[in-house]
């Protein structure tokens, strides 16, 4: 990244903080009311106080443990179920309708279910976190597996590979870019739900503490909670993203320095010139994303 871009990235949040400090320290009241709003300095000193206490780190540890267990469970279950639904008609018929019915229910609305089913609050929170991340992972996995180039599977079959070989050498590695899309969305939703669940039924945890601070009208404390959630969410999603980039390093990437928009235009412009593309095929060729990776193999002759 160039120095200029780095500078902008640092300057942008600093400017937001500056504006916040200005509006709150001047007690601005222009329809939006900033008189009661804690200033940046107040929040910062509250944060400094909290960071020195054991409770802060205990809360952090609880939240991180809940999200790690819930998210990892969701990742494993989501990839397994998504692959099964995409690959097996039996799984599609049995799991498919269930998934579609349960998917629109917000994970946080499952609190009563968690309370009825699970012996402890702790397990309930993990359950809700898991339920939140499960569906984004499952749905992206399903799509990624269905979008695989069938030639890869056929190649492995004619080299002597069986079902397990196809699964582990073609389906899972080939679907990884899509799976990581789902994981990135999933980790974000997981944070929303772990914090909400802690607010409703937790003992300890960043969400619980933030809600406690609100009930005792400790507004700087509430903002410390928010900042903590923001930082944790950012850290975990960055971790997921960089792991994703690492395991999909094989994907062809645009050459450094070439603006992405430029390459796309060049590809679009080239399509109508390709002799093999018929007018009816043009729309498919342009709309198919990542056509460089998943170039359609010669159509099987009917």
């Amino acid at each position: 990244m160039s120095t200029g871009r780095r500078l902008v990235r640092v300057a942008s949040p600093l400017a937001a903080l500056g504006l916040w400090q200005l509006l709150t320290s001047l007690d601005v009241n222009l329809w939006l009311r900033f008189e009661q709003f804690p200033t940046v300095v107040e929040v910062a000193s509250a944060l400094a106080d909290r960071v020195g206490t054991e409770v802060y780190w205990q809360d952090l540890g609880h939240s991180l443990r809940r999200i790690s267990v819930g998210f990892l469970l969701a990742a494993v279950l989501g990839v397994a179920a998504g692959t099964a639904v995409a690959r097996s008609r039996w799984a599609a018929d049995t799991l498919g309708p269930l998934v579609e019915v349960v998917r629109p229910i917000p994970a946080i609305a499952l609190v009563p279910v968690a309370i009825l089913l699970l012996p402890t609050n702790e397990q309930g929170i993990v359950f809700i976190t898991c339920a939140a991340a499960l569906f984004p992972v499952l749905v992206s996995t399903r799509h990624a597996v269905r979008a695989l180039n069938p030639v890869w599977e056929e190649a492995v079959l004619t080299l002597g590979g069986g079902r397990a070989r196809v699964l582990f050498s073609v389906v899972l590695p080939g679907a990884l870019p899509g799976i990581f899309g789902g994981l990135s969305v999933g980790i974000g939703v997981s944070w929303i739900c772990v914090i909400s669940a802690e607010m409703i039924s937790g003992e300890y945890g960043v969400g619980y503490r933030t809600w406690q601070d609100y009930t005792i009208v400790d507004y700087p404390g509430v903002f410390v909670g928010m900042a903590t959630i923001g930082a944790l969410g950012w850290l975990t999603s960055t971790a997921v993203e960089s792991l994703g980039r690492r395991v999909t390093a094989w994907l062809p990437r645009p050459t450094a320095g070439v603006p992405v928009g430029g390459t796309v235009r060049a590809v679009r412009a080239a399509v109508p010139l390709a002799p093999s593309v018929t007018p009816s095929g043009t729309s498919r060729a342009t709309s198919s994303d990542a056509s460089a990776v998943l170039r359609p193999e010669k159509e099987p002759v009917p």
Partner: protein, 273 residues
């Protein structure tokens, strides 16, 4: 792009090294190349269950070790023929056999070489070539050695660590050849493997194919829409549309292009299309 580099000429030595290596430790990789499979279609109706079938039933016998080329216009069912021979697609009617035994499912005996992009893009060139050996549970060191040998033979010794998308189209097809042959299949089914290459690269690839097939004993079914390619490579040429199978007078001899028999056959094939 250089098509056939001088390093591929040492095919005999690479061949002996490869077979010596595989004969050494693992019984799984059958030391010497086994004889080519005899493939046959008996009254087979080709087609997809929910699609249009090829109108005429096909009867065809491909002898062990033979190189049969199949020509026909695009869309006539040549790919369907190969997929049926491979066992990927069951025939609508009739029987497909290998050495008299019915073909029910795809297997390592019949490797399929696709027109393009059949390499696994997340695996390095070396790992792609090692794939059939990994499937047979060949020990790692031997797998590595065999893959290096095959890459050397197709003139890509220095590219083992690259990813498929970092190679040119012709290079990718050479990797596909290496991958298909590394598993020592008894039959190789090729679906217009050089169809997407320019004429110069294509001629080089044909020579390379002839070079590396020598000594494998594998039966080859080579589908193409290029009549000259079919007449150069094949022992026999099958005209897909009419069902005729014609003997090629001088297979794999570039000098025989102008020979009167070849010219007559070429006219006959062109007329049939």
């Amino acid at each position: 792009m250089s098509t056939v580099s001088p390093s591929t000429v040492s095919a005999e030595s690479a061949e002996s090294a490869a077979s010596a290596g595989s004969a050494g430790s693992a019984p799984a990789t059958a030391g010497p190349a086994s004889a080519g499979a005899e493939l046959a279609l008996h009254g087979v109706r080709l087609g997809h269950p929910d699609g249009v079938a090829v109108p005429r039933p096909v009867d065809l016998r491909i002898a062990s070790g033979e190189l049969l080329t199949v020509v026909g216009p695009s869309g006539c069912g040549k790919t369907t023929l190969l997929r049926t021979l491979a066992g990927l697609l069951p025939p609508l009617e009739g029987r497909v056999t290998q050495d008299g035994e019915p073909v029910r499912r795809p297997g390592a005996d019949r490797a399929l070489v696709f027109q393009h992009d059949a390499l696994l893009p997340w695996r390095s060139v070396r790992a792609n070539v090692e794939l059939p050996l990994a499937i047979r549970r060949t020990p790692r060191a031997e797998r590595r050695r065999s893959a290096e040998d095959w890459l050397e033979r197709v003139g890509l010794g220095g590219h083992a660590g690259k990813l498929p998308h970092q190679l040119s189209g012709g290079q990718r097809q050479r990797v596909q050849l290496a991958r298909a042959l590394a598993g020592r299949p008894r039959a190789v089914l090729m679906d217009e493997p050089f169809g997407a290459l320019d004429a110069h690269t294509r001629a080089g690839m044909q020579d390379l194919l002839v070079e590396i097939l020598r000594g494998t004993g594998a039966t080859v079914v080579f589908v193409t829409h290029d009549v000259d390619e079919a007449l150069h490579l094949g022992d026999r040429v099958a005209l897909f549309a009419s069902g005729e199978v014609l003997d090629v007078p001088h297979p794999r001899s570039r000098d025989a292009r102008q020979a009167p028999e070849t010219a007559a056959l070429r006219r006959r094939v062109l007329d049939s299309l």
